[in-house]
C-alpha cells in the first residue's frame, strides 16, 4: 500500500522489542552485576573470567542481538520526547536522523567490540 509510512513499523518494532527485552533482561543483569557479584555470591570474579564469558559464542550472539534493540528503544523514545514532548515539529526529520543515527552508530560500535574481543 503506497500510503503506508515506510519506516514507522520498522522503528516501532525495534522500539517495542527493545523495551520488552530490556524489561526481561535488565533486572536479571542488575541482579547479577550489582547484587550477586558484589556480594560474592558468584564466587571470585576477575577480568579473565569476565573476558572468557564475553567471548563465549552464546554471549556474543545474545549481546549482539540485545544491545542494538536497547539502543533503538532509546532512540525511538528520545525521538518522541524531543518531537512531541518539546514540540520540535519543524525539526522532525533532523531529530529522527540524529536519534536513529546514534542508535545505529552505537549498535555498530557494540557489534565491532563484540567481534573484536579476543
Amino acid at each position: 500500500m503506497a500510503l503506508k509510512p515506510p519506516r514507522e513499523p520498522l522503528v516501532w518494532a525495534l522500539f517495542s522489542a527493545g523495551g520488552m527485552v530490556a524489561a526481561l533482561v535488565l533486572p536479571a543483569l542488575a541482579g547479577i552485576l550489582w547484587i550477586a557479584a558484589p556480594l560474592g555470591l558468584l564466587g571470585p570474579l576477575d577480568h579473565e573470567g569476565l573476558r572468557l564469558l564475553a567471548v563465549h559464542p552464546v554471549v556474543r550472539i545474545g549481546m549482539g542481538l540485545l544491545l542494538p534493540l536497547f539502543f533503538f528503544h532509546w532512540a525511538h523514545r528520545f525521538r518522541h520526547t524531543l518531537h512531541d514532548g518539546l514540540q520540535l515539529y519543524h525539526l522532525s526529520r533532523f531529530i529522527a536522523l540524529v536519534t536513529y543515527g546514534v542508535a545505529l552508530g552505537l549498535s555498530l560500535g557494540a557489534l565491532w567490540i563484540l567481534w573484536s574481543l579476543g
Binding site: 500500500m1 500510503l3 509510512p5 514507522e8 513499523p9 516501532w12 512531541d84 514540540q87
Partner: protein, 250 residues
C-alpha cells in the same frame, strides 16, 4: 461524611460570541447537596440562576456520553462526578480540551464525527447472507474478544485527555481506533483490510506515543491505549508481510 458547607462555588467557563468576543469565567454560588453531581449543580444554575448557560447533557446516568467537561482540569462525565469529592471548591468547569468552543461549555465535535466513519465502525461482511440463513452465532470467547471496545459511548474524554490530539489534530484519535478494533476483533467481521488504510497511516495508530491518559479517563474502562498498541502490532506484522510479498495490496 459530615460536611459543614451549605454552598459551593462554581467557576464556569463562559463564551458568548454574540456579546463578548473573549471567553471569561463566571462564578455561581450554588447550594450544596450531598448526592449532587457536578451536572446537578449546572442544572441548578441553568434552572434557577442563568438560563443562558449552555452545555450538553441527556441521560444523567453515564450512558449517553453527552456531558463530558473539564472539571478542575480533568476530563470527566459531569453526571458521574460527585461534588462531595471536589469540596471545598471552588469547582472550575471548562469545556473539553482540544475541541473548538461553540458556546460556553459546548464543544464542536465535528472533527470526530468526520473521522469516525473513516474507520468504518460497522460489521463488514464479504458476502451478505439471506435473512433465512439465521443468526451468525458467536462463542462467549469470540464476544469477549471485542466486548470491552463496544462499551465506548463517544463521550470524547479520551480525545480531551490525549496530548497528541491537541497538538496533532489530524490524529484519528483513541475512540475511533478503539471502535475500529471493536469490529476488527469481531469474528463476524471481514473488514480489517479496509480499515487498515486509515489505521496504519501516520495519523492512524502511529501518531500515538502511548501516553495512556485516554485509558485513564475513560468512564467505561474501554482502554483505547491498549487497542492502539495492539493495532500497532497488527500493522507492523502486516508491514513485514508486505516486504515478503511486495505485490500484495490491502
Amino acid at each position: 461524611m459530615e460536611n459543614a458547607v451549605d454552598t459551593v462555588t462554581l467557576k464556569v467557563f463562559r463564551y458568548r460570541p454574540e456579546t463578548a468576543p473573549e471567553p471569561e469565567y463566571e462564578t455561581f454560588e450554588v447550594p450544596y447537596q450531598e448526592d449532587w453531581m457536578v451536572l446537578d449543580a449546572l442544572n441548578h444554575v441553568k434552572d434557577e440562576m442563568d438560563g443562558s448557560l449552555s452545555y450538553r447533557w441527556s441521560c444523567r446516568m453515564g450512558v449517553c456520553g453527552s456531558c463530558g467537561m473539564t472539571v478542575n482540569g480533568e476530563p470527566v462525565l459531569t453526571c458521574a462526578t460527585y461534588i462531595e469529592d471536589l469540596l471545598p471548591g471552588p469547582i472550575r468547569i471548562d469545556p473539553l480540551r482540544g475541541f473548538p468552543v461553540i458556546r460556553d461549555l459546548v464543544g464542536d465535535l465535528g472533527d470526530f464525527m468526520a473521522k469516525l466513519p473513516r474507520v468504518k465502525p460497522w460489521i463488514i461482511r464479504k458476502e451478505e447472507e439471506p435473512l433465512d440463513a439465521g443468526e451468525t452465532l458467536q462463542t462467549p470467547e469470540e464476544v469477549g474478544a471485542f466486548r470491552q471496545y463496544s462499551m465506548c459511548i463517544n463521550c470524547m474524554l479520551c480525545y480531551a485527555a490525549c496530548p497528541i490530539y491537541e497538538m496533532e489534530p489530524d490524529f484519528i484519535g483513541p475512540a475511533a481506533i478503539a471502535l475500529a478494533q471493536r469490529y476488527n476483533l469481531d469474528s463476524r467481521d471481514h473488514g480489517a483490510d479496509e480499515r487498515m488504510d486509515v489505521l496504519s497511516r501516520k495519523h492512524g495508530v502511529w501518531d500515538c506515543t502511548f501516553v495512556g491518559e485516554c485509558s485513564v479517563v475513560c468512564p467505561k474502562d474501554v482502554d483505547p491505549a491498549g487497542a492502539i498498541q495492539r493495532y500497532k502490532v497488527t500493522a507492523t506484522m502486516d508491514w513485514f508481510r508486505s516486504l515478503l510479498r511486495p505485490g500484495r495490496s490491502g
